[in-house]
């Protein structure tokens, strides 16, 4: 509610500044409002010696912030400041100490913000992009920067807790559990090649086999040892597990924190489906736009948005004017097109399934053909992700939705396609590893996983994710070099109708963001099996930033259809959360259900990856065990659950109360306007009556 006095204060400031216009009626109404509410606010006409409500709460940080937000000319502000400083307020020593403390804290915060500003990555590039191409494109690059930082910090986490201890304690340490199980399961020999041709190193680099397979890159290299000296004890498998879990939790917290800041703006402005025209007219122009070309494009953009809105209006009118027959025809067409779209998507899934199985059967091949078979699932996924959205776009044209709905529908379909195609790939792998879920079948009976085909199945899954990441990067580079630059050269230098119709490429934000989300989901899925994948992804995203920047400035024209930056950032993060959920599901399943390989990795000889936690648990001291048992017991968890329910109910109630008061204030605003109209009419009527009376009185005299 503190925004209300500030708003009124600002309105008064405006009064003070211009001193004419609307004050008198407003003043009368204001007095009426003040008396009708038992409010304790006094509304001084810029009497800054009497403290506004803010200062009472915040101590000495009140006045500086108040001064800056007052719409007075600078000279007046300085005069006011001088007056303020000359007044020595009579305060107790405790209050003055508190004021000094808040003031120094404020200065410290400012200094910290200044230094952080200096360290922000790519600040100038992002400014340039925002100035030339607008907020929508800039939001894509901001999202990319967020992912780079997230991946880099995750890599530091993994390096600190898993990689460096593994390197340091490589030779030391004792095995945690004695080897059990049949000997055939423990056979794992990744370096069986002997003399290798030179080009094979390159192929191995791309597919993660050969010399790359048995390295710190993949799960198989880590040992299941525990080091226990006098000073230090480090349990590597436990560290591996907990780091993986903490990595997921940390990523989720980062995403939610970032969502919180963007959601605040979106909620405060309340959806804003209404008021499109006024919003476009008054907030459409980006004042930060620089450069002649950007300005012209911005003008075209505003023009386009207005036209789109006008067209939506006329479309709505036409849709309302449809007869029942036409409506039925339209809806049945839409349902049919929906089925067609789903059919295309399912065809893509089937293609992925077949390709993965085929690739597995041909895994022994050598040379370039072998590389092609290795990469077959990635190729099929990428082709599907490219072709199916194009077809869906054409389908959406036929469905004749409004333009904004079309964008959302296309986006949702593309998200569904990408994430579920990844899921299909994982499902196919699971099929092969666990013999279609049937543990007692012939191949899987011995070790409870298919040891003949996958002696170290975790490394295999890690390799698939690694290949997906590398292929994504290679495709981006190939598209940049082979498609985007030539397209621009053709369009610029060859003036024919075809070239003009094709035109320069548009930077479509939504497709690019989906690519980022897909890449990040792949990394999350593979992080448990390929611990260095976040580092590779950081490098990949950094390269992607520079490639995209280059293509943006040299090859693209800005999209006419804009993406609203605030709501779209929120949408990107929601989609990223979907990807996170998929990766978490995969991780939980691998931790709990599938038996770890017996020939490799830090969890060999354990019945499941999670079972290391109980094993290590019993090594703790008795007191810790009892404490942890207590936390897990019902006596603790049920009250905790009840308490969190109460807290959640409180926040929900608070949110609904705020929403209701916002709606109430809006209605009051409308009513105030109508009151004003009514009073003005009354005044006119009365003055007219007064005139008539005067005339008749004058006539009688």
């Amino acid at each position: 509610m503190s925004s209300e006095p500030q708003r009124r204060g600002s309105r008064e400031a405006y009064d003070y500044d211009e001193g004419n216009g609307y004050p008198s009626e407003q003043h009368a109404l204001r007095l009426r409002w003040v008396s009708s509410r038992a409010s304790n606010q006094s509304y001084p006409q810029h009497d800054l010696s009497s403290t506004p409500a803010e200062e009472n709460e915040e101590g000495d940080s009140g006045p500086p912030r108040d001064l800056r937000a007052i719409p007075l000319p600078m000279a007046l502000k300085r005069a006011v400041r001088q007056v303020q400083q000359m007044q020595v307020p009579v305060v107790s020593s405790r209050q003055s100490w508190r004021r000094k403390r808040t003031k120094s804290l404020h200065e410290l915060k400012e200094k910290a913000r200044e230094s952080l500003y200096f360290f922000t990555l790519w600040r100038k590039s992002l400014q340039k992009i925002g100035g030339n191409f607008g907020g929508g494109v800039q939001s894509y690059f901001l999202f990319l920067r967020f992912l780079v930082v997230l991946n880099f910090v995750s890599f530091l986490l993994i390096a600190g807790f898993v990689l460096i201890p593994s390197i340091v304690f490589r030779s030391a340490g004792t095995s945690l559990i004695n080897s059990t199980g049949p000997d055939e399961c423990k056979v794992y020999d990744p370096n069986s090649q002997g003399l290798v041709e030179f080009y094979k190193y390159f192929l191995d680099l791309l597919s993660g086999t050969g010399f790359m397979e048995y390295s710190y890159l993949f799960y198989g290299y880590y040992s299941n040892t525990m080091v226990e000296n006098r000073n230090v004890s480090y349990n590597i498998p436990l560290a591996y597990l907990f780091t993986a879990i903490f990595y997921f939790v940390f990523c989720l917290i980062c995403i939610i924190a970032r969502m919180g800041t963007t959601a605040r703006v979106a909620v405060a402005t309340g959806g804003s489906a209404v008021g499109n025209y006024s919003v476009i007219v008054f907030t459409g122009w980006d004042y930060g736009c620089q450069g002649d070309r950007a300005t012209k494009l911005k003008q075209k953009n505003v023009h386009y948005r207005l036209q789109v809105d006008l067209e939506e209006e006329s479309r709505k009118k036409r849709a309302a004017a449809l007869t029942l027959c036409q409506k039925i025809a339209l809806y049945s067409l839409r349902v049919f097109m929906c089925f067609v779209a789903f059919g295309l998507i399912i065809a893509a899934f089937y293609g992925i399934f077949v390709a993965t199985n085929f690739s597995q059967t041909k895994s022994g091949e050598e040379g370039i053909l072998g590389l092609f078979f290795e990469y077959l699932p990635s190729i099929v996924i990428t082709t599907g992700n490219f072709v199916v959205p194009l077809l869906c776009d054409q389908i959406a044209l036929l469905e004749r939705y409004t333009p904004s709905t079309t964008v959302i529908v296309a986006l949702l379909r593309a998200v569904f396609l990408r994430l579920v195609s990844l899921g299909v790939l994982l499902f196919t792998l699971w099929d092969q590893i666990t013999c279609k879920g049937d543990i007692d079948s012939h191949d899987c009976k011995l070790c409870q996983y298919n040891y003949k085909v996958h002696p170290c199945w975790e490394t295999r899954v890690g390799q698939e994710m690694y290949k997906l990441t590398m292929f994504d990067l290679l495709v981006n580079i190939a598209l940049l070099v082979l498609v985007e630059f030539p397209r621009r050269m053709v369009v610029d230098n060859w003036s024919s109708k075809l070239a003009q119709w094709v035109g320069r490429q548009e930077f479509v934000v939504s497709t690019n963001v989906l690519g980022l989300v897909y890449g990040q989901t792949v990394v999350w899925t593979g992080a448990l099996f390929c611990p260095l994948l976040p580092l590779i992804n950081t490098i990949k995203f950094v390269l992607l930033f520079y490639f995209r920047k280059v293509t943006l400035f040299y090859n693209c024209r800005p999209a006419l259809k804009t993406f609203r930056s605030t709501t779209s950032t929120f949408f990107f993060l929601v989609v990223l959360t979907f990807g996170w959920c998929l990766a978490t599901a995969v991780m939980i399943y691998s931790l709990a259900e599938i038996r770890p390989s017996m020939g490799c990795g830090p969890f060999r000889f354990f019945p499941s990856m999670w079972s290391i936690v109980p094993t290590s648990f019993y090594r703790l001291s008795t007191i810790t065990q009892d404490f942890l048992f207590f936390i897990g017991s019902q006596a603790f968890s049920i009250p905790l659950f009840a308490l969190s329910c109460v807290v959640m109910c409180y926040f929900i109630a608070l949110a609904s109360v705020y929403g209701k008061s916002v709606a109430l204030l809006r209605a009051q605003l409308k009513l105030e306007g109508r009151d004003k109209q009514f009073l003005v009419k009354q005044i006119e009527k009365l003055s007219r009556q007064h005139q008539i009376l005067k005339h008749t009185a004058g006539a009688y005299e």
Binding site: R11, Y14, V281, C289, K300, V302, L669, Q677
Partner: protein, 187 residues
């Protein structure tokens, strides 16, 4: 940070810091920009508050303002005499309001002033038409302009007088999520 600049006294810099959203470095940088607009007019020594105003024509030559269709209106709204002659105080004030840290209410007040072409404290239909024409560089047909202006006033006008007062404008701005990011000049 302890540098020996002689353009402002420390007290002046503190005053500027308290009254605007800029830090000391940024204020000095702004003075540099103000000076390079007219090196022979603007003194380097501001310790005794010289009375120096730059005309509108010089200010709108800045690269940040040059391409803005509302550049003259922006400068006029921040000038005391209403004709666009800015002293350094007003120059700093202008960029402070347009910086990214200025609150929404403050920006809304000045945005209202900028779009109010005939300076009557109301955004009437003529004001909106002029705004729209400057926005789209007169590419809309006159009928479309009329339609958009009517619809805009219809949407935002709460008290039914077919023009927008400051209250209507501010209410509409609170529902615009991009206002803070678009009403922002980076300098």
């Amino acid at each position: 940070m302890g540098n020996k600049q002689t353009i402002f006294t420390d007290e002046q810099l503190d005053a500027y810091q308290d009254c605007t959203f800029f830090t000391r470095k940024e204020i000095l940088r702004l003075h540099g920009r103000y000076h390079e607009l007219a090196p022979h007019l603007v003194p380097m020594d501001y310790t005794n508050d010289p009375d120096c105003k730059l005309p509108l024509a010089l200010i709108v030559n800045m690269p940040e303002l040059k391409e803005n269709p509302f550049c003259s209106r922006i400068v006029e709204s921040f000038s005391e005499d209403g004709f666009g002659n800015l002293s350094f105080n007003e120059f700093v004030d202008m960029f402070s309001v347009l910086s990214e840290m200025a609150p929404r209410e403050l920006k809304a007040i000045y945005a209202f002033k900028i779009y109010d072409f005939n300076v009557d404290n109301y955004l009437c239909k003529e004001d909106l038409e002029k705004t729209l024409n400057r926005l789209t560089k007169e590419e809309l047909t006159p009928e479309e302009v009329q339609l958009v202006c009517e619809k805009a006033i219809e949407e935002a006008d709460l008290d039914g007088d077919s023009k927008l007062s400051y209250a209507d404008f501010e209410n509409m701005i609170t529902r615009a999520p991009d206002f803070l990011s678009t009403f922002h000049i980076r300098i």
